[in-house]
């Protein structure tokens, strides 16, 4: 792989190679300073490649693992229209995973290897999917809060300096916007329904609110990688900045829903012109991240099982393709 070669033999570059390196670096620096786009064949610093690969593969894994809590309700969706929307949504997530794995592959990592790392517990995915979806209203809260937070995070990524990532995000954000609307609709319907339905909706919002705020990542003073990502035009806004914007949006939307957010400390700070929220339990965040959330092992086990049960199918497809190619070659 190109990235490994660059790492392993840095000292043995010939004068021509050194010149190419220098020209590549100059080009990279100019592209970044012009806020333009780096493409897969362009020279890039090793750390830039690694950061992107980590971020994009984590994002892809989040889509794939994120299918599970919602797939959990497909067979029990309470109306055929909702069933159909939910199926389409979970299917979109598989599609997002595919675009993102493809974007990551342009950085020199295969999808198989990324999947292997996920199953081996070596790769991370968004911690929020380690919480269980225990009621139908969770389909609403996940769409409204979790996808809502994802949109806030992801819309700026459409302008990420790495071309394949930015382009994948444009399409993903369009679909995420639909996902958030369907979540909002589910909650609105429940909130205007029977008292039991409304209670179901409120409980779901109560459970998903804090985890969704923590989706933006640790507070800025505890987020060591953010600064470099911002310098490379991958990340555009800080974690706290995005979190504050998200709170501001939710605080308005929750009124339309006729529900409340489980946070008495939300306020608009007139001085900073930013929305503020109550304290978040970052200890819990770290615990879940470290694998001690309610569903960590269940989620990975389900992925492992699907992957291993499908091994014979993938092998058959490869064997068949090889035989067909031989036939064509012989003809």
């Amino acid at each position: 792989m190109a990235s490994q070669n660059l790492q392993s033999v840095p000292a043995e570059l010939s004068p021509e190679e050194q010149e190419r390196e220098a020209a590549g670096k100059a080009y990279f620096d100019r592209i970044i300073s012009e806020d333009s786009r780096i493409e897969p064949r362009d020279w890039m610093p090793e750390a830039y490649r690694k950061t992107l690969l980590r971020q994009i593969s984590q994002h892809a894994h989040s889509e794939i693992i994120g299918m599970q809590p919602e797939a959990n309700w497909i067979t029990r969706a309470p109306s055929l229209k909702r069933k159909s929307i939910l199926m389409a949504k979970v299917q979109d997530e598989a599609g997002h995973g595919l675009y993102l794995y493809s974007a990551a592959e342009t950085l020199g990592q295969t999808r198989d290897k990324m999947m292997e790392d996920l199953i081996a517990g070596k790769a991370r995915y968004s911690s929020i999917f380690n919480y269980p979806a225990i009621s139908w209203a969770d389909m609403g809260a996940i769409g409204w809060l979790v996808d809502g937070a994802a949109i806030c995070n992801q819309v700026p990524l459409c302008r990420a300096s790495f071309g394949p990532y930015g382009r994948a995000m444009v399409r993903i954000c369009k679909e995420e916007s639909f996902h958030q609307r369907q979540g909002f609709e589910i909650l609105l319907e429940l909130s205007n329904g029977t008292p039991e339905q409304k209670q179901m909706a409120q409980e779901a919002v109560n459970r998903w609110y804090a985890p969704s705020l923590m989706m933006f990542g640790p507070p800025d003073d505890d987020s060591p990688n953010s600064k470099q990502s911002m310098a490379w035009n991958i990340k555009r806004f800080s974690n706290d900045e995005l979190r504050s914007r998200f709170v501001g949006m939710m605080v308005e939307q929750v009124k339309v829903l006729g529900l409340t957010l489980p946070d008495k400390d939300i306020r608009f700070n007139e001085e900073t012109k930013k929305w503020e929220h109550g304290p978040l339990d970052w200890n819990e965040f770290k615990e879940v991240l470290a694998g001690r959330g309610p569903c960590n092992s269940q989620r990975i086990e389900r992925r492992r099982e699907a992957h291993e049960n499908g091994a014979w199918v993938r092998e058959a497809a490869v064997a068949y393709a090889r035989k067909q190619a031989q036939k064509e070659h012989a003809a």
Binding site: I64, M67, Q68, A71, I74, T75, R76, P78, S79, L80, K81, R82, K83, S84, M87, A88, V90, Q91, A94, L98, W136, G148, I151, C152, V155, P156, C158, R159, V170, C173, K174, F178, Q180, R181, Q182, E185, L188, E189, G193, T194, E196, Q197, R245, M249, Q253, V256, R302, A306, N309, G310, W312, V313, R314, E315, A316, A317, V318, A319, Y320, K323
Partner: protein, 305 residues
């Protein structure tokens, strides 16, 4: 709900057009942001609207017939939906999910239309009928098994449905013809998908070949039931509304036979099961399928979702 209520535009994040119109724009009170279908495809909501306006109402016979094929799609969608997040490859999560969605879409249209005869909605029919009131054939309720069983089942289903919907596009019942015209285009893709996999699994590895042979053995007993005529289909065929299921058999045999021959697979020499799904006689599987499907709706009778 208006556009304004659900306007999630995010300011200052660049140029993102969501490409989704809110409810306010269409002027249809039942419209929603999640009812986006490209082109002029016929949606279950359109049929429901026609029913409400009194523009269409099926005869008792047509409703019974629509119930049969609607139940086929519904039960199969319920089965296929289980694959989403469990498929052998991401591409198959998407493909099987898509087929499930198509089947559910057809089911919703047929059930909405059928329900118009009895003043019932698609959801009344899906969630508040009991086992013996379902009219699906046994093939559709067969368990997913491994990927090979699912593909074998899907192969039979899609070739059967293709013949059926093609014939129904000439129905004298305009609604049946319209739903079928949309469905046949989608089922054509399902045929392609399952045929490709039959060839791959049969011609792949020893293991995949053994599994697809076993898969066909498990589902083939439920083929004959699909092509059985009865009093209802006889009356509808005479009226030019439907065709006798037996008339679809030759096309099915020829086209599936071509693929089976290419895959070097024999039609399994297994006895045909008695069937009876069209009369509400089901296997042990259906009870569990509908228990899971109906549980939440039945906890909250009369609720809107």
């Amino acid at each position: 709900m208006t556009d304004k209520d659900t306007d999630f535009a995010i300011e200052g994040h660049g140029d993102i057009s969501v490409g989704v119109q809110g409810a306010g724009a269409s002027g249809d009170g039942s419209a929603s942001a999640t009812r986006i279908t490209p082109g002029n495809a016929l949606r279950p909501e359109d049929i429901a609207l026609e029913v409400r306006r009194g523009q269409v109402k099926p005869s008792e016979d047509v409703a019974e017939f629509a119930l049969r094929i609607g139940d086929d799609g519904l039960i199969l969608a319920q089965r296929l939906g289980h694959w989403i997040s469990r498929a052998p490859e991401l591409e198959e999560d998407i493909a099987l999910g898509n087929i499930a969605l198509d089947q559910l879409g057809h089911a919703r249209s047929f059930l909405t239309y059928a329900g118009a005869a009895w003043d019932k909605s698609e959801d009344d029919l899906a969630y508040f009928r009991r086992e013996h009131e379902f009219r699906s054939a046994h093939l559709f309720e067969q368990p997913n098994g491994d990927f090979a069983v699912t593909i074998a089942r899907q192969f039979i289903v899609s070739y059967y449905q293709y013949e059926l919907y093609t014939a129904l596009t000439a129905s004298k019942d305009a609604t049946l013809a319209a739903i079928s015209a949309k469905a046949v285009k989608e089922v054509d893709y399902h045929r392609d998908h399952s045929a490709q996999w039959v060839l791959r699994l049969a011609g792949g590895t020893d293991e995949s070949r053994a599994r697809i042979i076993q898969g066909f053995k498990l589902v083939w007993p439920y083929v004959d039931e699909l092509f059985e005529d009865d009093e209802l289909t006889t009356r509808l065929a005479e009226a030019g509304v439907a065709v006798q299921p037996s008339s679809l058999r030759a096309g099915f045999d020829r086209l599936t036979g071509e693929i089976m021959a290419e895959a070097e697979l024999d039609i399994p020499a297994v006895p045909q099961a008695l069937g009876g799904g069209r009369r509400g006689k089901h296997s042990e599987f259906l009870g569990y399928i509908i228990a899971e499907m109906q549980v939440l709706a039945r906890e909250h009778p009369g609720a809107s979702w």
